[in-house]
């Protein structure tokens, strides 16, 4: 064995961006993930949840909601007020249409993938038609006060359930009218605090599932406007909700970092009466769980701690093995660090800038595992800010350390670094 010097690089202060939203493609093959910095990542289920594609973020473009429509087309909407279609082949935003209702908080595609509904800051729900090569505004549905935080289509595409602050609404798609409005206030205490409906799901049976800021998961009968079941899972808010395709299992994520599974189970053996039962709690996250998804074999959750956790359901697995293992994606899957071997330099890539460091060095040698005293401490040479709103996609430093390059979605930049004693000069080529 040769001798190695191991550098402890503790000066790479990367702050990973938290997971903001998740969307499973209807056919179940892919998962789209939106981060708080606007980056969108695509994971492929078939290839062991391999991170297939990354679309870097954009300063002006946040992602609040993602959805798959019309086959394999991915749309995103954000607080910028625009709906963007992503070019999955070119790994960039293809084109965007302004929603016209202020910041967009939520977006949902209908079952057939032909229409998109968005929930806006001004309380309106707007329908967009998905047409080849883009989307087209169709019409406005009934507008009420209060931002629409979540949306869900009924599987038959006739109704939309929308959750806002303190209430949920059911809208008829044909007439555009509000057909039911349910207040979800919290009456338990003297002071009625504002109750935020964080997420909503419309089941085929006519049940509307909501999660709110009081830690409740509630099941409503939308036609009668009555509460069917209420489960308090947490003292903090329940932020996210996802339903399995068969509608017999629900996963919710709370702001305490825990996720819970609900299952629709028969009350008695062989009887038709079924009830939602809270079954398994999981505590994989340290921060808010902002997004959950339910694939046919696994519960997927993403949180502000930037982790993506894929928890396979044991009962759906045929055998124990690699498929059935718990997966946690803690690290970025791209190369963010590049190394100039000869010049002993490191280039770190952040979303908006690059940092060039010189590694520390030592004269001494020691035994295995020993910490050697440094002759020269690591040195921060250059911080290179990128220009424009686009985030850096990739970066590299040449082995001699004189060339630094990075690229965004649309541009490529090359710099020359000159070392003159202690001072460092950078010139754009």
């Amino acid at each position: 064995m040769g001798e190695f010097e191991v550098h402890r690089v503790r000066f790479f202060g990367l702050v990973p961006a938290g997971v903001r939203c998740l969307a499973c493609s209807p056919r179940g093959g892919r998962l789209a993930l939106g981060r708080t910095d606007g980056a969108v990542e695509i994971y492929n289920f078939a290839a062991n949840y391999f991170q297939e594609k990354v679309i870097p973020g954009h300063e002006a473009r946040s992602v609040e909601a993602l959805c798959w429509a019309a086959g394999e087309r991915l749309f995103g909407a954000g607080l910028g007020g625009a709906i963007t279609e992503y070019d999955l082949a070119g790994l960039r935003a293809a084109h965007s249409v302004d929603g016209g209702g202020g910041p967009i908080w939520s977006m949902a595609a209908n079952g057939s993938g032909t229409q998109l509904a968005i929930g806006c800051e001004d309380g309106s729900v707007k329908l967009f038609q998905v047409v080849p090569g883009g989307i087209q505004f169709e019409r406005n549905l009934d507008r009420r006060k209060g931002r629409i935080l979540c949306l869900s289509w009924h599987p038959s595409d006739t109704h939309i359930a929308a959750g806002s602050i303190g209430a949920l609404r059911v809208l008829d798609v044909c007439s555009g009218q509000t057909v039911q409005r349910i207040m979800v206030n919290y009456h338990m205490r003297k002071v009625t605090r504002e109750c935020v409906v964080w997420s909503i799901a419309f089941l085929a049976s006519g049940t509307v599932v909501t999660t709110d800021s009081f830690g409740r998961v509630q099941f409503w009968d939308w036609q009668r406007g009555t509460l069917r079941e209420s489960h308090t899972v947490s003292t903090s808010a329940v932020l996210s909700l996802a339903v399995s395709e068969k509608e017999d299992s629900i996963v919710v994520g709370t702001s305490a970092g825990a996720t819970y599974q609900f299952q629709l189970l028969p009350v008695k053996m062989g009887s038709l009466e079924k009830r939602w039962v809270r079954t398994k709690p999981f505590q994989h996250h340290t921060h808010d769980v902002r997004a959950v998804a339910h694939s046919s074999t696994a519960l997927i959750s993403g949180g502000l701690d930037a982790q993506l956790v894929i928890r396979p359901l044991m009962e759906k697995m045929q055998k124990k093995g690699y498929e059935a293992a718990l997966r946690k994606f803690t690290f970025p899957h791209r190369r963010l660090v590049s190394c100039a071997r000869k010049a002993r330099l490191l280039l770190f890539q952040f979303s908006q800038h690059l940092e060039l460091w010189r590694l520390g060095s030592t004269n001494e040698t020691g035994k295995d595992g020993e910490v050697l005293p440094l002759r020269r401490v690591p040195e921060h040479l250059v911080q290179l800010k990128s220009k424009g709103p686009e985030h850096i996609y990739c970066s590299c430093v040449s082995p001699c350390g004189t060339w630094v390059t990075y690229s965004t979605a649309s541009r490529f930049h090359l710099y020359r670094v000159r070392y003159q004693g202690d001072s460092v000069g950078v010139t754009k080529v």
Binding site: G215, T232, Q263, K268, M269, V277, R278, T279
Partner: protein, 831 residues
């Protein structure tokens, strides 16, 4: 008079109640397995109504007969199942199964069989659940050998098997495995929790309960978690959710009748109520005193009860409010105090709850009260050294109580001597003096100079310590004007002998002499001048206990050594009078006679020797008193001297001897035979008299008072008498729950007849006969026969005769009652 039989050893308290879950009967009684007996308590008065004995070994399970809620099945380690009519306390049938029965379950859906847990033949420590077919043949004693195995490899504990909704399935847990057997599908599903020891401890199963309405199983685990299993009819797609509050083992679980809430309990002595199977909605009933062993819920859901490890029963309302507590002899961790008799209440005093002194009334088998001595919060945690009470002594009048508490520390023990004065106003003991570190080391013995005739000022307390001294404590006037009390205690004299450890101390009957044993020697001191009078020694062996003789034998001093010698010294001649080779564990003098009882432990059995100090031959010997080691004994003075025919048992005339065994069962010796002790008393009546006053009874009472006043006005005193005699019948009618009564038209004639002023008593009986079916007649005859035999047994002594007369009166009432009751039941069984 009955010919004197041999003395019988009778268990009279402290039998473990934790053999099986308690059962609520349909009408406000609670049934509990207690040792070899089944006890029936009234929920209204907490009184022990009936003691059903007949099993030859520990009762392991009791269940109401699902087809007749007035009957009870009980199973025992003696291998038999008994069917009882618990209202009358009569065994109806005995089914002999054979092997040890460890648990019993009865199901409404299984017509003629019950389920028991038996050890698997040929294998040690493996048990199986079997169904026992109970034959319907006539006769009292039946064989029930028809067994069919349901589940193999179950746990012996009755908590670890539960039957599900409508008897569809049975679930059993053992170690980390749960198995569910579906009767209809004949399908067995097994589930396991991970065996890996997690950081929160191990997750072995400890108990199980099934939801009464839904397919849901709740299991308790050793790490304090509760798991709710659902969908367990599928082998793979089962699921469970977890509830976690307990920090230690979940001891028992019970669902409410509708299954909307779940009760759990453990060593924390907190009952937890989980609503809607939710982690967030739970209520607590804390401070129940001691670890919860079993939880049971009444069938109407209004009450639940918890059985505790210290033999206490707590009855709790449905809204989780403490309602009542039934406590007999509290089982403490270790009885360090002697069995002491409180001279005031004649109650037995010993360690109760940790740090408490319990006063146990022998007559009513109830705890009178519990005195908090240590006055510190007890923390339920393993391995924590907590202060506990070790010695107790009462002064002769019961005005003063001395207690010693210590905390076991390796380096220096923490000792406290407390003196309590009985406050007449508050009727309880009040702390007078507290002495920290009265001795440098453990206190080995303590006694008051008990002289009845002398006034309070001459009271002396002597403590003997392992620090090689004995100390004399006297009362002194308190000179401090601001002091709340006029007297306090302080040390007067410290005596020692050759630097030996003082082990025992004892005053002579007149209080003039004090005997203190120092390892191998006994020293006798003058209690006025504190001069050493003389010493006795009988090597080899250290003195285990000493006592003075009483009355005629006051000149003798008895000592027992741990080398197996019993010595008697004459104090006048200062010489050894006699000695005997006997390994004496307990030496107990009777305060009211010359007799001294010695209990020996030889070849794994305890034997009792009763002797007088003036003669070396024992008066009475009973070998093989019991298999357990007897630790403590006490003579309890009787209220009135008992008539004892035989010369042999004369020593039992004025006091009764009680023993406490290793397992903290209280036993006594009785000259009476079994039948006499188990009196089918008319306690039932007494209970109904002591029922709480309801608005209805007030109304009725006023009505009656008016009526009686009218009677007096009319001068019909005789008639009023008669009317009172009939009233139990009416009373019974009014006290029986409305839903078990026959139709009003049926009852009307009886009711009216009972109100009618009958000319003769005979007409009354005729009415009753009409109502009864003719089949009852034979039983009636037998009743009468019994009456006759009892008449024959009557003694000539006038006092007894008087007793019989009152007894006869109540008997006729009882007969009346029984008729009414029988009628009720026959009506029920028709359905």
């Amino acid at each position: 008079m009955v010919a004197p039989g041999p003395l019988r050893v009778v268990r009279c308290g402290g039998s473990t109640l934790c053999g099986a879950k308690a059962v609520f009967s349909a009408d406000s009684y609670l049934l509990c397995a207690s040792g070899d007996f089944v006890k029936m308590y009234s929920l209204a008065t907490e009184e022990t109504l009936r003691l059903m004995g007949g099993h030859a070994d520990l009762v392991t399970g009791i269940q109401l007969n699902p087809h007749n809620h007035m009957q009870l099945y009980s199973s025992s380690l003696d291998g038999s199942i008994k069917l009882w009519d618990f209202m009358d306390g009569i065994p109806i049938k005995t089914f002999t199964v054979g092997p040890k029965l460890l648990a019993l379950y009865a199901l409404a859906s299984s017509e003629d069989s019950v389920f028991v847990v038996i050890p698997k033949s040929g294998e040690r420590d493996t048990f199986q659940l079997v169904a026992v077919k109970l034959t319907k043949a006539a006769g009292q004693d039946l064989e029930a050998r028809e067994l069919s195995v349901i589940l193999d490899g179950v746990d012996a504990s009755p908590k670890r098997i539960a039957f599900g909704r409508e008897g569809e399935y049975v679930a059993s847990v053992k170690e980390v495995h749960l198995q569910v057997y579906f009767f209809k599908q004949k399908q067995l599903n097994r589930f396991s929790v991970s065996t890996a020891k997690t950081k929160s401890g191990n997750n072995r199963f400890t108990c199980i309960a099934c939801h009464p309405m839904e397919d849901c199983i709740a299991t308790g685990h050793a790490d304090g978690k509760i798991r709710l299993w659902r969908n367990f009819c599928h082998k793979k797609e089962y699921t469970f959710s977890t509830l976690h509050w307990h920090h230690d083992t979940v001891m028992d679980l019970a669902f409410s009748m509708e299954g909307t809430s779940l009760l759990s309990g453990g060593v924390e002595s907190v009952l937890v109520l989980w609503r809607n199977e939710s982690d967030r909605q739970k209520d607590f009933l804390p401070r129940l005193g001691s670890p919860i062993e079993y939880i049971s819920v009444s069938s109407d859901g209004t009450l639940c009860c918890t059985l505790h490890t210290d033999n206490r029963i707590t009855i709790i309302n449905s809204n989780l409010r403490f309602s009542k507590s039934i406590q007999g002899l509290i089982k403490s961790k270790d009885v360090k105090t002697d069995l002491v008799v409180d001279p005031r209440t004649k109650a037995l005093v010993l360690n109760g709850e940790p740090g408490h002194l319990q006063f146990y009334c022998l007559q009513s088998d109830q705890q009178l009260f519990s005195l908090d001595i240590v006055q510190r919060q007890y923390i339920h945690q393993a391995g924590l050294n907590q202060a506990d009470l070790v010695k107790v002594a009462f002064s002769a009048e019961g005005n003063w109580l001395a207690t010693v508490e210590e905390r076991e520390e390796v380096t220096d023990p923490e000792l406290q001597l407390k003196l309590w004065f009985y406050d007449e106003e508050t009727q309880s003991f009040k702390l007078n003096t507290r002495i920290n570190m009265p001795h440098e080391d453990h206190i080995t013995d303590m006694c008051f100079r008990d002289m009845d005739e002398l006034e309070d000022e001459s009271l002396i307390l002597v403590t003997a310590g392992r620090d090689r001294v004995f100390k004399v404590w006297v009362m002194v006037e308190d000179t401090d004007p601001e002091a709340q009390q006029s007297v306090s205690w302080s040390c007067d004299f410290v005596g020692s002998y050759h630097n030996y450890q003082a082990t025992n101390c004892c005053f002579s009957e007149d209080g003039s002499l004090l005997a203190v044993s120092f390892e191998e020697a006994v020293t006798v001191w003058d209690s006025v001048t504190w001069d050493l009078k003389c010493t006795f020694c009988h090597p080899p062996g250290k003195i285990r206990s000493i006592c003075f003789g009483r009355l005629m034998c006051a000149k003798y001093l008895i000592g027992a050594t741990d080398h197996g010698f019993l010595c008697c010294w004459n104090l006048l001649s200062c010489a050894l009078e006699w000695s005997a080779h006997l390994n004496v564990l307990v030496l107990q003098p009777d305060p009211l006679s010359e007799h001294i009882a010695a209990v020996s432990w030889l070849s794994k059995e305890s034997s009792l020797f009763v002797f007088k100090p003036n003669e070396p031959r024992p008066i009475y010997i009973q070998r093989n008193l019991c298999k357990e080691k007897i630790k403590l004994a006490a003579f309890i003075p009787r209220d009135e001297p008992e008539m004892i025919g035989s010369e042999k048992y004369l020593w039992l005339r004025r006091s009764q001897l009680f023993f406490l065994t290793d397992t903290q069962e209280l036993m006594t010796l009785s000259t009476k035979s079994l039948e006499e002790r188990l009196t089918p008393s008319s306690k039932q009546l007494a209970v109904e008299e002591s029922l709480p006053v309801t608005p209805f009874s007030l109304l009725l009472g006023r009505h009656r008072r008016q009526q009686s006043q009218e009677d007096i006005d009319l001068g019909k005193l005789v008639v009023r008498n008669k009317h009172e005699q009939d009233s139990p019948a009416v009373k019974e009618l009014l006290h029986t729950p409305a839903h078990v009564l026959p139709s009003a038209s049926f009852l009307c004639p009886i009711f009216i007849n009972s109100l009618l002023i009958s000319k003769e008593k005979k007409s009354d009986e005729e009415v009753a006969d009409e109502v009864e079916m003719q089949s009852e007649k034979t039983e009636d005859d037998s009743d009468e026969e019994r009456d006759v035999t009892e008449m024959e047994q009557e003694d000539t002594s006038p006092m007894e005769l008087l007793g019989e007369i009152t007894c006869k009166l109540s008997k006729s009432q009882e007969k009346e009652l029984r008729k009414i009751r029988k009628m009720d039941y026959s009506w029920i069984s028709a359905f």
